[in-house]
């Protein structure tokens, strides 16, 4: 329950009794969050992470504003949540208010001429993608899967996805937003309002978005105008196979290639060449284990059986540098051109068919389905028995990514041998180029037994070791996305990447003077210690 009865009464009045609850049965479902088991909380009991007071379901922006004002008046911390994958949407202080955005699920506008859509928080990537495809468009779908909220990744967090070659990163896809500040005022910029294209001078989202986003630490976003991208395929793809693990027939104007490269360097070379000629619709690396996990099999049983078969065939260690490429053409000539160029690149870099003789045509159709529908990422929960984590995760140029890939692989092997991480042959690089440019994103999903405290300690050790090494080698890019040790990351990165923590603190203080927007992922870790810390800029920043 909330501490203040008066606040509870006011909140209930805002949304009506059907949309407000302090009941333990309701709260229990929000309290259960797999990710807190790994978000720095290596404890058996997940309930130590979250201590909610109430849950509220606003139906419109005005209600969100009023909720924020009540929270300010009564000092109640709150945080917004949409589909709720991951701990990013969960408040962490005792007696907090969970603001569940499910009732705000409209696609307000789908503007096909100007290629953008205005959506509310609960619209998922897939819902927007299917509606857009009717107009020859699609939206960026993040790596967590298409059942996640478009708005959440556009406005608040992360934003990487395997369609980045043509659909960028959601941190760069925002054409407007409606932002309810922690104090309850609302700010609108860009195309969420008619006739308001662009920034009001300075790029206002610069204050809350960045590489990682504020994760609800700076209030609630109630609308975004999100950029849409051309979709070269048909409005609806032909489904093949079973409901359990369907495939999509590859349209006549598209081609799918699954390639294996002799080394990370050759893979990087191929990426550079592909992006220079702008021929890829999708170009993305998947670790070997992801194939039996996501589209070759339908269960861990399948996965294991396939994995052992691959191992027996000597294919596990040979298949570590995969890149899948989808090309598309609006004309026969275009498609032929792209096929020709791709074949040249394959020849120049020594690529071969990935898992030749093993992958069937059905596998490839299932792969294609998984690429377009992006429905398989959460199968990682199956491997990780209800949890997963993503090590590293940053954007850099491809030569650096190749280097990173190699030594993360070596590091992982150590931890696999120690029994900390699930054996994925040390290869877990998931990533690809962004925007037909030299920049690419990679991250390294890892799995362990999150109910085993030794495993959790070992996992943290692995993450810390890789991050320290990355900083040492100057392979941090624009900062890691690894959130499960967010306090550590903030501390390490802050020192290495410019000592920006004070700015985040100031932004928080200015926009949220009462500190009611839960900022666990925004200002993690030693907030109080860092608040008083003097700038270390002189020590950490090389100066000419």
């Amino acid at each position: 329950m909330l501490k203040s009865r008066e606040a509870a009464r006011l909140l209930e009045n805002i949304v009506g009794p059907d949309n407000f609850s302090e009941d333990p049965a309701i709260i229990a479902s929000y309290v259960f969050q797999p990710f807190p088991r790994s978000v720095g909380q290596a404890s058996k009991d997940i309930y130590e992470a979250v201590k909610l007071g109430a849950v509220i379901l606003p139906g419109n922006t005005e209600e969100v504003q009023t909720i924020a004002k009540v929270c300010n008046r009564y000092g109640i911390t709150y945080k917004a949540l949409s589909t709720g994958l991951g701990a990013w949407g969960v408040p962490t202080r005792e007696g907090s208010l969970q603001v569940d955005m499910r009732r705000m699920n409209r696609i307000i506008k789908l503007e096909d001429r100007n290629m953008y859509a205005i959506v509310e928080p609960y619209v998922t990537c897939r819902e927007l993608a299917v509606e857009s495809s009717k107009k020859g468009l699609t939206c960026h779908i993040i790596g967590a899967g298409s059942e996640t909220s478009v708005l959440a990744s556009v406005s608040n967090g992360w934003g990487h996805g395997h369609d980045a070659t043509t659909a960028s990163h959601n941190g760069r896809n925002c054409l407007g937003a409606e932002w309810v500040l922690p104090t309850g005022e609302v700010v609108r910029w860009g195309l969420v309002e008619e006739g308001k294209a662009g920034y009001p001078g300075p790029g206002l989202p610069g204050i809350y978005r960045g590489n990682t986003g504020a994760f609800g630490g700076l209030g609630i976003f109630t609308k975004v105008a999100v950029k849409l991208y051309p979709w070269p395929g048909p409005a609806a793809l032909e489904i093949r196979g079973e409901n359990q693990n369907p495939g999509y027939k590859v349209p006549h104007n598209m081609r799918v290639y699954l390639l294996a490269f002799p080394s990370p360097e050759k893979l990087a070379e191929a990426v550079y060449k592909l992006t220079e000629e702008e021929i890829a619709y999708h170009a993305w690396c998947h670790p070997l284990f992801m194939h039996p996990q996501r589209w070759m099999g339908s269960s861990n049983d399948d996965h294991y059986e396939i994995w052992e078969r691959l191992r027996s065939a000597g294919l596990v260690d040979k298949s570590l540098d995969e890149l899948s490429v989808v090309i598309a053409g609006y004309s026969e000539r275009e498609l032929r051109y792209k096929e020709k160029v791709l074949k040249e690149i394959i020849g120049e870099t020594g690529a071969t068919d990935f898992l030749a003789g093993v992958l069937t045509e059905e596998d490839k159709e299932r792969f294609f389905c998984a690429q377009i529908a992006a429905h398989k990422p959460c199968t990682e929960f199956r491997i990780g028995a209800g949890d997963m984590g993503s090590g590293m995760g940053q954007i850099m140029h491809w030569s650096a990514q190749a280097k990173l890939k190699k030594w993360v692989r070596e590091f992982q092997k150590k931890y696999i041998e120690r029994g900390i991480l699930i054996d994925t042959a040390g290869e877990s690089c998931w990533g690809g180029p962004i925007e037909q440019r030299a920049a690419g994103h990679t991250e390294y999903p890892i799995f362990t037994d999150t109910r085993n405290l030794d495993c959790m300690a070992g996992r943290r050790e692995f993450l810390e070791e890789t991050h320290r090494k990355a900083i040492e080698e100057k392979l941090m890019g624009n900062g890691s996305i690894e959130a499960s040790v967010i306090a550590l990351i903030d501390e390490l990165e802050n020192a290495a990447l410019g000592d920006y923590f004070d700015f985040k603190r100031k932004i928080k203080d200015v926009f949220d003077p009462k500190g009611v927007a839960d900022a666990y992922q925004y200002l993690a870790g030693k907030q109080e210690a860092l608040r008083n810390r003097k700038s270390q800029q002189a020590k950490t920043y090389e100066r000419e």
Partner: protein
């Protein structure tokens, strides 16, 4: 084998909160309007009402962190147990989480602890007194068969035992369905009989609301009648009963040892053998609603008593291999084959069809305890039927048909709803 809630603790922990239980299986999603798959969370919005939410709540409950309360009962019982979450979770979690089993185990636990909704008491009383969920006189159970000349399977051996089910036995407005079903089989020369007044409820409703003991009792009753009849095939026009026979009975360990067919399966077979032909034309554009109990929950149960072991360090695999229940082996094509063969009839599909069908809202005690919710759920489906361009909705489940008809009437609108067999009567 039925397991208690505690036995599922490991599975409760495995929920990754991916929200797949809330939406249509993503590759099959066709629009934003019809993207949802779970009636409960669509209606109530709190995460607790989704399957994931219910698993999370079950976890909390198991740990003794939350007490019984009206809200807890609401969360658990405001759910038609339609199985959509079960099949969707498979797509992500494979065979790791037994969603439908857990939801039933929860209700069984609640009833064991004396927690039962008052609205369900009438249903239980009816069952206990008169052997049917309505409490209508047992003596009238076979009134529908009067004059049809069907064999009494309690007195003579038959090849086919025809089981009407409670809804069709007593709902006079739907009488056409059961009588026509029997007539079609009879006229095709099938040796069929009925148990008449000795026919007992399949018991599924009782199990759905948590009365495991009642279910076992009725299951044994049905098994006994089947044995006595000598039948080699058990046919029913009721989707709920079908699901009980194919899925739930094997789950609780009751074997019928006969082939179980839904009427549509049997009629489809007869049509393929040339024993049934329909020549009259019926000009109509219709859409077909896949009943949950015929489709997803019509897939036969495969028992598993294995364990989970770790491989590759910490990945769980089953030993022996746990069957992967996908809902795809339910009855989807037989009704469609029948409809497509009728001259003049044009079949269009709703967006959410087959395994991804939207529930009618009537099941698992929802109609009795939450009629408004049942109504809203049904009207969602009617809207979808209209959006498909169809002029009428056809189904093959009397509970679906009843709820759709009542909901359309209550809404003040008009949209015809038929059972397949009612259409067949028109073209015979």
């Amino acid at each position: 084998m039925f397991k208690k809630l505690d036995d599922y603790e490991q599975e409760l922990y495995w929920c990754g909160r991916c929200s797949y239980c809330k939406f249509v299986n993503i590759p099959f999603m066709k629009s934003h309007r019809f993207s949802q798959t779970c009636p409960s969370i669509k209606d109530q919005n709190f995460h607790a009402y989704s399957c994931s939410g219910k698993l999370n709540v079950a976890w909390s409950f198991l740990k003794g962190r939350i007490p019984y309360s009206d809200k807890l009962l609401d969360v658990i019982y405001r759910c038609p147990l339609d199985g959509a979450c079960d099949t969707n979770c498979r797509v992500i979690m494979g065979n790791m989480i037994s969603n439908n089993e857990i939801l039933h185990a929860l209700r069984v636990k609640f009833v064991e602890d004396g927690q039962i909704l008052p609205e369900h008491m009438a249903l239980i009383d009816g069952l206990r007194k008169e052997g049917n969920v309505f409490g209508y006189p047992k003596t009238k159970r076979s009134d529908w068969a009067e004059g049809l000349g069907l064999k009494d399977a309690t007195r003579e051996k038959v090849d086919i035992l025809f089981h009407s089910g409670c809804r069709l036995a007593y709902d006079e407005e739907l009488r056409n369905v059961v009588t026509e079903s029997a007539i079609l089989l009879r006229d095709a020369g099938i040796d069929l009989g009925i148990a008449g007044r000795e026919e007992v409820c399949c018991g599924l409703r009782a199990f759905d609301i948590g009365l495991r003991g009642e279910m076992e009792k009725y299951a044994e009753g049905v098994a006994s009648v089947v044995r006595e009849s000598g039948a080699i095939t058990l046919v029913t026009p009721c989707a709920d009963c079908y699901s009980a026979f194919k899925y739930y009975y094997p789950w609780i360990g009751v074997k019928l040892n006969v082939e179980v067919l839904h009427i549509t399966e049997y009629l489809d077979r007869l049509m393929k053998e040339g024993k049934l032909k329909f020549r009259k034309k019926i000009t109509m554009r219709i859409t077909y609603h896949d009943p949950c109990h015929l489709g997803r929950l019509g897939e036969a149960y495969e028992p598993w008593n294995g364990e989970w072991k770790k491989v590759l360090g910490h990945m769980y695999v089953s030993e022996p291999r746990k069957p992967l229940r996908t809902g795809e082996r339910g009855v989807y094509e037989s009704p469609r084959n029948i409809l497509r063969s009728l001259p003049g009839l044009e079949l269009v599909e709703m967006e959410r069809n087959r395994v991804n069908s939207w529930c009618c809202g009537a099941g698992a005690g929802v109609l009795e305890a939450f009629p408004d919710f049942a109504h809203r759920t049904a009207m969602e489906r009617i809207e979808e039927a209209k959006a498909s361009g169809a002029e009428a909705l056809v189904t093959s489940c009397p509970w679906c048909e009843r709820n759709f008809k009542d909901s359309v009437k209550e809404s003040g609108g008009k949209f015809p709803v038929y059972d397949i067999v009612e259409l067949l009567k028109e073209v015979r």
